[in-house]
Symmetry: C2
Subunit: 505 residues, 2 copies
């Protein structure tokens, strides 16, 4: 039996005993259990789902002391960061509980009959969103809690009322197994069928599951290559299913001339912190910094980057890719090395920060190479002379999760053309801040135009993430007793509804 084995990136030593890949027969019974659990879970009162999410959050918080060292040994992300990440993960579970408790997520909409309606009579129509059925999630490597077993895709799918089968990431199998056991124990304590939640292991299991008729939607966070392959499988099915992939992102950041003058040194320092956070392994890492020519920050930026020590990367493959791509950028004829990439020769998987610089003109010409995401602690300064040149360069940047502008009050009148080129290229626009750190909130958008996500209509973070796993169903002229509770006369659930076009509570 093949094992999924992790490595301690600080030492290169095995991080545990390994976890067996899920064999086809076991995957098959997992899929059947999820399918049969789907109806039962969908008909569970909302209070049951709310209790489930809160109980998972509580139990994860209680077990954090045991999970964090395990996560650290498999990912090398460090105990401080992982402690914050557990808190974010359980906050997110509770946030989704709050979202479904509020009730708007059902989009309950009622049109009372209009027997004399023009142009034709209108019957009694009542619409709500209902769960799609079993959801397949592919866990990410870089957030072993927040975008993994108990992460946003799992939490939002459970909130939507969908059973979850999650394919563990190869980078942290022991943590995945342990987190999965905790969630499954809560599912049992809540008297829900075991098929509501299962972790599977191995790439074959993921590939087999995504084309299985029992899976009704899938979510993914990871590389553009991996996400594209799974997107093609999901959309190429005899019965295509929705696939939500959050892929790579370059996250351009623009600094105006006025902001450079006023607080260039601060911006440079903050930038380096954002780029090197978590060894640069954030999908929102600001990979491009557009600075005006003559900014005078080369030395400050280079010093700040050089001062950041090598730190562990998630696994050997990621460290090798980082070394390769940063070496390619370093060797590009149009690129100046402010901090030349260095290999870390100690055992394990380490990343050494690097920093590059080029002109906007060169960037525009070589964007296919230079605007490519480099996952890890390096980034590229792009120097522009005029707004025209800046806009030209930005036009060669592909879709991103975020785009950031650092500007002053005096820029507000003139910045519109820059925002007009950034807006269609990003899901979140940031003013005088940094893209790393994705707040869990009602109004968060974490997604964006291709290739930053496979579908720009959706978000993997924030309240609206629930909608990815639900579909509208309309009941026409239905007897009260056969209607879902959310749509009955008298609003027994006390949720916000739209009645004859007007929002009501």
């Amino acid at each position: 039996m093949t094992l999924v084995e992790s490595m301690n990136p600080r030492t290169g030593e095995p991080a545990g005993m390994g976890v067996s890949e899920t064999p086809p027969a076991e995957l098959n019974s997992t899929l059947s259990l999820a399918k049969s659990a789907a109806r039962r879970f969908a008909s569970e009162p909302l209070t049951g789902r709310i209790a489930l999410l809160r109980a998972i959050a509580d139990k994860l918080d209680n077990r954090a002391d045991e999970l964090i060292p395990l996560a650290d040994s498999e990912t090398g992300l460090g105990k401080d960061r992982l402690t914050t990440e557990v808190a974010r993960t359980t906050f997110q579970l509770r946030h989704f509980a709050d979202v479904i408790e509020e009730g708007s997520f059902l989009e309950a909409t009622i049109d009372t009959p209009a027997p004399n309606g023009k142009p034709t009579p209108r019957p009694d129509l009542r619409r709500q969103l209902e769960p799609l059925g079993p959801v397949l999630v592919f866990a990410a490597s870089n957030f072993p809690f927040a975008f993994s077993i108990a992460g946003g895709d799992t939490a939002s799918a459970l909130a939507a009322g969908c059973p979850v089968i999650i394919k563990a990431h190869e980078g942290h199998p022991e943590l995945s197994r342990r987190t999965g056991e905790i969630i499954s124990s809560v599912v049992a304590e809540q008297n829900l069928p075991a098929g509501v939640f299962t972790v599977v292991f191995g790439q074959n299991a993921g590939r087999d599951a995504i084309v299985d008729h029992r899976i009704r939607a899938a979510g993914f966070t990871g590389s553009t290559t991996g996400g594209r392959a799974l997107f093609d499988l999901a959309t190429g099915r005899v019965d295509p299913i929705p696939f939500y992939g959050e892929l790579g992102s370059i996250n351009p950041t623009v600094v105006t001339k006025a902001a450079t003058r006023t607080r260039g040194a601060d911006i440079a320092a903050e930038y380096v912190t954002s780029v090197t956070l978590g060894t640069g392994q954030f999908c929102t890492k600001p990979g491009l910094l557009f600075l005006p020519v003559g900014h005078g920050l080369d030395q400050a930026l280079a010093d700040a980057v050089s001062a950041v020590p090598a730190s562990p990367m998630l696994n050997a493959r990621i460290a090798e890719n980082y070394a390769q791509i940063s070496a390619e950028i370093s060797a590009h004829p149009a690129v100046r090395n402010l901090v030349t990439p260095r290999l870390h020769t100690e055992p394990g998987a380490w990343g050494v920060p690097a920093l590059f610089s080029t002109s906007a003109e060169s960037f525009t010409e070589a964007a296919d190479r230079l605007a490519e995401e480099c996952f890890g602690p390096s980034s590229l300064i792009v120097e522009y002379t005029t707004t025209h040149e800046l806009i030209n360069a930005l036009q060669s940047v592909e879709g991103s999760l975020t785009a950031t502008v650092h500007g002053e009050q005096s820029d507000i009148q003139s910045i519109a053309p820059v925002l007009d080129v950034l807006r269609p290229r990003s899901g979140r626009l940031i003013w005088n801040g940094w893209p790393t750190g994705v707040a869990v909130a009602w109004s968060m958008q974490h997604g964006g135009p291709w290739p930053s996500s496979t579908n720009p209509l959706h978000s993997s973070v924030g309240a609206s993430a629930v909608r990815r796993w639900m579909r509208p169903v309309t009941y026409q002229s239905f007897p009260q007793d056969l209607l879902p509770e959310a749509l009955r006369d008298g609003n027994p659930l006390g949720i916000p509804r739209r009645v004859d076009g007007a929002l009501r509570r």
Copy 2:
């Protein structure tokens, strides 16, 4: 230059002079105009879009007397039906104007800053939906107004703020050209750029446009085969785009034993009316009627179907397909012919109603043949003995736009298992009614699980249809003057918004 030529289905004679296919160079400039119009149209105040939709509706109403005879000569649908359809189409345009005037469609959501937020501080976050950019629409044949040039996809995309390029259906090119001219004249009267709306002709233009980088989403109403081919093109792009296809649908209808006893004759008569409406060319035609064994309605059903005269079908290809598929079902060994299909030998494209019957057991065994949509005025009675047998048969039915149950008060306690098998298979559930006739309303759902649509999350009719053409954008820590109006302090648009989780006006 190749012409798109229509035929009068009543006579087989040409219905007009034909319209030239759009040559590649013209398509290219159309795409560029749409792209450059997108930014201008998106930044137009909502009042501009509202005025545009209402002005299109007014002008179509004013020109109805000229358009309806043209539509009748190209489609043979008859002046009464077409008069209602124009009214439905202009009602729909005005409904979308009302929807955007109400403002909830923007989903404006604000989270005020929480500098001491746990687990991490939360910045000021403001989210709204914004237009995706140029939308490509493929018009349908069977509703030359409501699902064609001025139909729901066009209306909802314009309401969303997206320029529309619509590929005319080959069945009614003259009407398409004329309707397009009317809409374009309104676009000009409203001082909007011409690229906001263009009609293109020919399958090559459609195929070239759907893979063009300037197109950001596409909508389609038509056959499963055609829709699948376009879906594959849209999702196979280097930069995949959302594709919303409303494809075929079989629309199962179940009659309980009690309803058969109480009002079987009425149900039979209404059923035949629904099946033969518009020569059976509705995507919501109830193609399967599940009746209890011993229903005693064979003669009544056969008499009612025989009494419906042959009527024109939309075009020769559709009439040939209908003749072929109904002949295959007629010849199936498990099928009894209640009304045997007949060919109509007069010139033109005509459909003669037919009616078939089989047992639930045979249906379940041969569902791959018998549960296939037959576009035209034929349908299949499926006789069941027990609820168990009924449910087995329903489980072999694929996703549909609708599913209908005719039942009595006495059925309400026992019908849940039947609804449980219908619900995951349909987008709209109907009690004691008929699926034909899709009301334009806030709570309509017109869409459903594959193969009735390519994406079960969306609807092509009703207020939520706008959402298909919009994507969320979040503004983080933005200055008031740079925020979209919908997200500014003080709610200058006076729209419903969610602030710190609570709905407010």
